[in-house]
């Protein structure tokens, strides 16, 4: 059966070796698809050349949506559509609207941010995550290299990985 996607998977035992390996491998012109680590490794994002996430902007926009929705809903409902006297206050009085507005802002920001995160990091509900090596949840750092995205031959990449401290190099196809 002909596979569509072929990967070379390098296994690393130590995060310091991994970090220098990432830098050296990228310097040699090899494109790394992703690195999976059992715990957060400081400096890995920079080494991989990732841009900073724009998730805070999404959170802000979702939060603003919450603020505007909650405020306008309350003002319209209690101020115009069905005015009610509650606690002897004016129909249109901002202070009692603030707690609801605050909560709704937080709710939408949190939901929106979590949802955005799941979508952009390819963890949609119907999507089964791809495990290049199950040991990345235990004690190994796993580097996946997409062969189709690289012009360098498989043997050469394998050699580069080994010379940079990979304890094993496996092939994986999907």
């Amino acid at each position: 059966m002909a596979s569509k996607e072929n990967y070379l998977v390098g296994i690393f035992d130590d995060e310091d070796v991994l970090l220098s390996a990432v830098e050296n491998i990228r310097d040699k012109g090899v494109k790394i698809k992703e690195v999976y680590t059992p715990f957060p490794v400081h400096g890995l994002d920079e080494a991989l050349g990732y841009r900073r996430t724009r998730l805070p902007i999404a959170a802000f926009l979702f939060g603003m949506t919450g603020t505007i929705t909650a405020l306008s809903t309350q003002i319209w409902m209690l101020g115009f559509d069905w005015p009610m006297i509650i606690g002897g206050k004016n129909h249109f009085s901002i202070p009692p609207f603030i707690p609801v507005t605050f909560e709704f802002t937080v709710l939408l920001a949190a939901f929106g941010m979590a949802g955005t995160f799941l979508v952009v990091s390819d963890m949609k509900p119907y999507k089964w995550p791809r495990m290049f090596d199950n040991r990345s949840t235990d004690d190994k750092h796993v580097m996946a290299i997409d062969l189709a995205a690289n012009k360098i031959s498989k043997e050469e990449i394998s050699q580069i990985l080994k010379s940079n401290g990979a304890s094993e190099v496996n092939e994986k196809s999907y």
């Binding site: 310091d16 970090l19 400081h42 400096g43 900073r52 805070p56 802000f60 606690g87 002897g88 206050k89 202070p95 009692p96 603030i98 707690p99």
Partner: protein, 456 residues
């Protein structure tokens, strides 16, 4: 990654240029205070909206017996002329404000030890230097209290506790008589407020002792590099934090809430603390930024500034949360004896603009300006936002203290600005001259390596 970094010795030098700048600030403050006093004495800016305000206050309390007698009695014995009352008020208010800055210096250091924080190892000397203000603030607090008590603290008047003078025209105040024990114990109500003064002295005494203990361990560590100093400082810090939790709240009742004698709020302890805390954080951040700009603190980088900026951002929001919690409960319950506090501040002309400026300067601006990650990492932005926060909370304290004393006659003029400049110059003088006395970097701090590798 795990390599240990060498840290070169660094010392802050309190340069003659800095000294002369502070002296100019002090001199300008004194001149402004003088001109302001002269103008107020010759009756220039009096009576703006004063009568309207008095009417509002009386209407507000008309439904209650006791405060009505208070208002009546208040006019009889509040003796000093308006200009002198203004000076007394701003003297007291500035001292409470700057006491907080000194205290927060110590509190910040203690928090770092108790939390075993690593990131802050490079900046801890700045809040430590701010703590040197505590003894000065304590002496000032005691002296100023005896000078201003008759005008600022309504409850000090003996006639309020005189049972011979009961009745609509009498001076006896039943509410205060029942609260009196909190001020006067073990003596008789209306005599010398022994309990109050004991608290003031004990608080400052213990704060200063904890400050000296923690400071001693921090400086001893520079010499012999033993980690036991860090552990001892941590122990003192933990005990201090427990004590500070109680004492800061009681101090807020004593020094701020007791000015509006009949009014009370269970949020006041937190409110005063929140305001002190965010101002102190802003002051620490500002001093760190200034030092960094003049070439000091080489080991402090954008990551440390980011954390300080986050502190200012987060506790601006925290202050707003406390502010709103206090306002919301009083607004919704709508009990006259509580609402009078906000009605005085929101509707009376000299205070109403400060009431809203308070929220804009202390919530909206820091919230929006410090929201982005990049703005917390740039000294330029921090140097814009932290003065806004410091000035904003100075206005916050103005609003806590002044309306209770000055009623409708308060204003912010040359007297208030001059006095603030005098206090600021003295505070900075003490802070910077103390900072110059010991190394700027604690090179033997066990957390220093973590701080050097700090990365967020």
């Amino acid at each position: 990654m795990n390599a240990t970094h060498e840290v070169s010795d660094e010392r802050y030098i309190f340069k003659p240029e800095t000294r002369s700048k502070l002296l100019i600030l002090l001199a300008v403050g004194i001149v402004l205070l003088g001109i302001g006093t002269w103008m107020a004495m010759s009756g220039g800016e009096e009576h703006r909206g004063g009568h309207a305000a008095t009417t509002v206050t009386k209407d507000m309390v008309a439904s209650l017996d006791a405060p009505a007698t208070e208002a009546a009695a208040g006019e009889e014995h509040h003796g000093s002329p308006a200009w002198l009352k203004r000076i007394y008020t701003t003297l007291w208010m500035n001292n409470v404000f700057f006491t907080g800055l000194g205290l927060i210096g110590l509190f910040f250091v203690a928090i770092q030890y108790a939390a075993q924080a690593g990131w802050s190892a490079g900046v801890k000397r700045i809040p430590l230097a701010m703590g040197h203000w505590i003894p000065f603030a304590g002496i000032l607090m005691l002296v100023i209290w005896f000078v201003v008590k008759g005008d600022v603290f309504h409850w000090t008047h003996a006639s309020l506790y005189d049972k011979a003078s009961i009745g609509p025209d009498g001076t006896y105040d039943e509410i205060l008589d029942k609260k009196g024990v909190y001020f006067f114990w073990p003596l008789d109500n209306g005599s010398f407020p022994a309990f109050y003064i004991i608290r003031l002295v004990v608080f400052f005494g213990l704060w200063y002792m904890f400050f000296m203990w923690i400071r001693k361990e921090m400086l001893a560590e520079d010499v012999d590099g033993l980690n036991t100093h860090w552990e001892k400082a941590r122990k003192y810090s933990a005990i201090f934090l427990v004590f500070f939790g109680v004492s800061s709240s009681v101090a807020a009742w004593d020094w701020v809430m007791s000015i509006d004698t009949h009014w009370f709020s269970t949020m006041m302890g937190w409110y005063v603390f929140a305001s002190w805390w965010v101002t102190g954080l802003a002051m620490i951040t500002l001093i760190v930024s200034m030092l960094k700009n003049s070439g000091y603190l080489k080991i402090v980088n954008a990551n440390h500034l980011h954390d300080l900026g986050k502190f200012v951002f987060a506790f601006s929001v925290f202050w707003t949360y406390i502010w709103f919690s206090q306002f919301m409960l009083i607004y919704y319950a709508n009990i006259p004896e509580e609402t009078v506090y906000f009605i005085q501040r929101r509707t009376v002309s000299p205070y109403s603009w400060i009431f809203f400026a308070n929220l804009i300067l202390n919530f909206a601006l820091p919230f929006l300006l410090l929201m982005m990650r990049d703005s917390k990492r740039h000294i330029g932005m921090l140097k814009i936002v932290t003065p806004i926060v410091i000035i904003g909370h100075w206005l916050d304290y103005y609003l806590m203290v002044t309306p209770g004393v000055m009623k409708g006659e308060g204003s912010i003029g040359l007297i208030e600005i001059g006095m603030a400049m005098i206090f600021l110059a003295c505070f900075l003088w003490v802070t910077l001259s103390s900072l110059a006395k010991y190394p700027l970097i604690a090179k033997n701090d066990p957390m220093l390596q973590e701080s050097l590798g700090h990365h967020i």
